[in-house]
Amino acid sequence: MDKFRMIFQFFQSNQESFMNGICGIMALASTQMYSAFDFNCPCLPHYNLAYGLGILLVPPFILFLLGFVLNNNISMLAEEWRRPQGRRGKDPAVLRYMFCSMAQRAMIAPAVWVSVTLLDGKCITCAFCTSVPVETLGNASHPRLSQGEIQRVLARIPCKEIYNGQQLIANEVAIRYLRCISQALGWCFVLLMTTLAFLVRSLRPCFSQAAFLKSRYWSHYIDIERKLFDETCAEHARSFAKVCIQQFFEGMSTDLVAARRHLPRKAPADAGEAAEKLLGITDRGTMNMALKSWHRCKPALQLHPPALPTRNGWAGEGQPPMHPSVPRKETAAYYSWV
């Protein structure tokens, strides 16, 4: 548990490390998905190609889109792209940097899927079994079958149990041939991807290091600014809600005092803090009324300046807040009920 937490903290400490962590998890998930997937070649002439190539190409596309969806920065990129210029200029280099870094990370899981599929060989065997060169690998001089018959026989190569073309071409020979081609393609694909990644990474310091440092700084800035703004807004919302609710309860308790001649205002001061927090609501009926009122008629989203500073009313006016504050509070409270 501790180990897991430490690894989690390590990845979270740095935004980039976090994204690399997600990247690695998706690559592992893609391998796991492939091994859990039950590949079932249809062994029919025209369906094989569609099925094989579909399994080879559709999941990578899904994984690529998923890579973008899981990336938190995509909304940040969209926001920065669409925002009106206002008083702050937009830098296309920053947008390009953000997009490139997201696209690079999103490409890893699809590349892993394609490599694993090609190195395993089942997809290519299924897709291209009808194109096996029968003349070189098998007996082309076998009693002539029509082209369609040959295609149907060859299409059954991946399904060993129903294969009936041993005289035409041995099943193992064809599968070995197709698998060899598939694995060669797989290794070439991995080599190509690795070479591209290496070139992208190593050519950057040679050509645009200063621009890169700038883009990286500002993209990081945009991310942090958004987070800090959200935090500040959350703090504001919290204070707003607190004051709003306080005013609501005060309004309620003042109303009760006015309507039922309940406890005088001085009582809370005598009873201490706890009684003060009760805000004049001290029995079930009143509480129920307060709750019903909260549900039926929430107060307007408008805080009242008199109530804001302290409990003493108009602090700025410099007047002693004693008796005049009571009727004034009533008026203010009544106003808030509207």
Partner: protein, 306 residues
């Protein structure tokens, strides 16, 4: 748990240790990749050699490039190499030291792959079964030339119908495997002796230069890390200031437009600070809209506090 944490911290503390860690992980990954890879020799005359040698040499190139990509120091070295001279001279000895240390670490995983491949033997059997001299093996001696090529090519495939009961197939297989394993062990021995000599004899040559190069390469690495951290810290402070200025400017605007708000006295700490004078729904909406449509300029120097 404690032990794991100590190991983790040890590896993280030093950049060189991190690289050694990555190096070790890649070597393990290379062994795992080999064992999980389903080697399947095509058993066809022209394809065997290409397949066998391809499996032996292409993955090491991939592993080498991967080591270079994953190694942070290679990027640091490239930056140091390409940077304009400016006020700081470039020391080629440092760059050479960094290059050689990166290359040494990057070679570990490919070498592990090649050695494992040779010790296992399947690759060499597949690649060179067609090049065997048929006269040496009883089963293949009296077969026509064309046929013998086909048969030899099928030696790596035990389950092939022609090879299932062929004793000469086992002879060829054993012969090739013996060569393969001898080659594997020899390569391993040579490399370990070379590493041993290099490590032992290094202090005899240019120890002072080596210490200097190592110190400065470490310095360059640490300097870059600290620069990145300082930039992060700076952008955080800049963002904080920018947002505070924005809230403050909104508060000023609200004060200008609404005369009913009292002037704040000293007793208005606490909640008032967090409200920034924004106290109703319309003000909040306007505030959020202004943030979207007119983000403040990235300039906190000229704004005054009040």
């Amino acid at each position: 748990m404690d032990r794991f944490r100590m190991i983790f911290q040890y590896f993280q503390s030093n950049s060189e240790s991190v690289m050694n860690g990555i190096c070790g992980l890649l070597a393990l990954a290379s062994v795992k990749m080999y064992t999980s890879f389903d080697f399947s020799c095509p058993c066809l005359p022209q394809y065997n050699m290409a397949y066998g040698l391809g499996i032996m040499f292409v993955p090491p190139v991939i592993l080498f490039l991967c080591s270079l990509i994953l190694n942070r120091q290679s990027l640091v070295m490239l930056e140091e190499w390409r940077r304009p001279q400016g006020c700081r001279k470039k020391d080629l000895a440092v760059i050479r030291y960094m290059c050689s240390s990166i290359m040494q670490r990057a070679m570990v995983a490919p070498v592990v792959w090649i050695v494992v491949t040779l010790l296992d033997g399947k690759c060499l059997i597949c690649a060179f079964s067609g090049s065997m001299d048929p006269e040496k093996f009883v089963g293949f001696a009296n077969v026509s030339t064309v046929q013998v090529q086909q048969l030899l090519a099928k030696v790596p495939c035990k389950d092939d119908e022609l090879m299932r009961n062929n004793t000469s197939r086992k002879a060829v297989s054993r012969y090739l495997r013996c060569w393969s394993q001898a080659l594997g062990w020899s390569i391993l021995l040579i490399l370990i002796i070379a590493a041993f000599l290099a490590r032992w004899l290094r202090p005899c040559f240019n120890q002072a230069t080596l210490l200097q190069a190592r110190h400065w390469s470490n310095y360059i690495d640490i300097e870059q890390k600290i620069f990145e951290e300082t930039c992060c810290e700076h952008s955080r402070l800049l963002a904080h200031k920018c947002i505070l200025h924005f809230f403050e400017s909104m508060r000023q605007e609200i004060k200008l437009h609404s005369f009913t708000l009292p002037r704040e006295g000293e007793g208005t700490e606490g909640e008032e600070d967090f409200l920034w004078g924004i106290t109703d729904q319309d003000q909040v909406n306007k505030f959020l809209k202004t943030w979207y449509y007119e983000k403040p300029p990235l300039d906190v120097s000229q704004k005054t506090q009040r």
